[in-house]
Symmetry: C2
Subunit: 202 residues, 2 copies
């Protein structure tokens, strides 16, 4: 599904071609409505069509249903990954940690919490979620390994637990607003340094 605009050796079917503007408008309307606070299942095809200035049939001509449309819309949302500079391991970690839950599209921040229930309900959506975050995890894993190789980190640390340690605080703060009094702006740096140094008196 959603293999539209397969530009490969177009046999140029007759008739009026599909409007690219309609495609865009539908996706944008979907993301806008989600970002405005609609939950996934409160989101209706009719509302999307109205918002996009499009007939319902135009949507059903492109997608099989709400799920397929959402899948496409969210794919379009995920944005670009942060690219660590590679000079200082600590600075790279701060960059990666700061990028957690921060997408180029400002609507992403509003939409992410809505996906949490869906992720735990359907195996498909869980897989989609894992596909999005696992390359980011891989990136952080490589930076941590580099830190070990450079002798900055102890060789016996558990890399996976360390990643959870770096990621968890940012996620609960950005997605759940876990502690409203915590300053989000300086958090990445403070998290990284705390994980680096530990809290035990020496």
């Amino acid at each position: 599904m959603a293999d539209m605009t397969s530009t490969a050796d177009a046999p140029r079917s007759p008739g009026r071609p599909r409007s690219i503007r309609a495609d865009e408008a539908i996706i944008e309307a979907t993301l806008d409505l989600l970002a405005e606070g609609s939950t996934i299942e409160a989101l209706s095809i009719e509302a999307i069509a109205t918002r996009a200035g499009v007939g319902k049939a135009t949507i059903y001509r492109r997608w099989a249903g709400k799920d397929a449309l959402l899948l496409d819309a969210l794919r379009r949302l995920k944005g670009v990954m942060a690219q660590p500079a590679g000079h200082s391991v600590r600075d790279d970690l701060v960059l990666l940690v700061g990028a957690i839950g921060k997408n180029v599209d400002p609507r992403a921040a509003k939409i992410m919490p809505c996906l949490v229930p869906a992720v735990n309900r359907s195996a498909d959506q869980f897989q989609l979620y894992q596909n999005i975050i696992s390359p980011r995890r891989q990136l952080m894993r490589e930076v941590l390994r580099r830190g070990i190789d450079e002798g900055m980190f102890r060789a016996d640390i558990d890399v996976e637990v360390t990643m959870a340690l770096l990621t968890g605080p940012m996620l609960i703060q950005r997605v759940l607003q876990w502690n409203p009094d915590l300053d989000e702006q300086s958090l990445p740096e403070r998290v990284v340094d705390a994980v680096l140094e530990g809290i035990r008196a020496r």
Copy 2:
């Protein structure tokens, strides 16, 4: 609302008293349906009434609507807080961290993800959420302060950031299944020790 069973100097109104069993059945049915995978807005009063073996009017007689009912039901769910023993600071932390996202009611684990979107949408629900977690945060705060007083932790650590460090990894793992390969059972201990020691080579 929901000030039922105000046992204070009961003027004993005439007529048949409200059935306590109906109260229980309605709350239980609500929690059961949520735990079985129904999302909050897919949850209908009709379904709750049927499941509870109760007429719809019996529900509307007690609550103004779905929101009020949900608020009561979730309050009933929150369960008891873990009580640290107070001997070893490290063991207390492991206990508290292990208790994160782990309620006495097994339904809680299934229900929690569903609340994430709601929490960020309504100020009321956000307040309810904060009311539930803030005493637990306070408990952890006190243990950390005790660790500082005992000289186990450095005096200059940021207690709030440290709490986020301890809480975040458990929450993203238990609620989001952030990394399916991470062993959840041993995680509390490993998180606490990692935060204690840090990862920097010494």
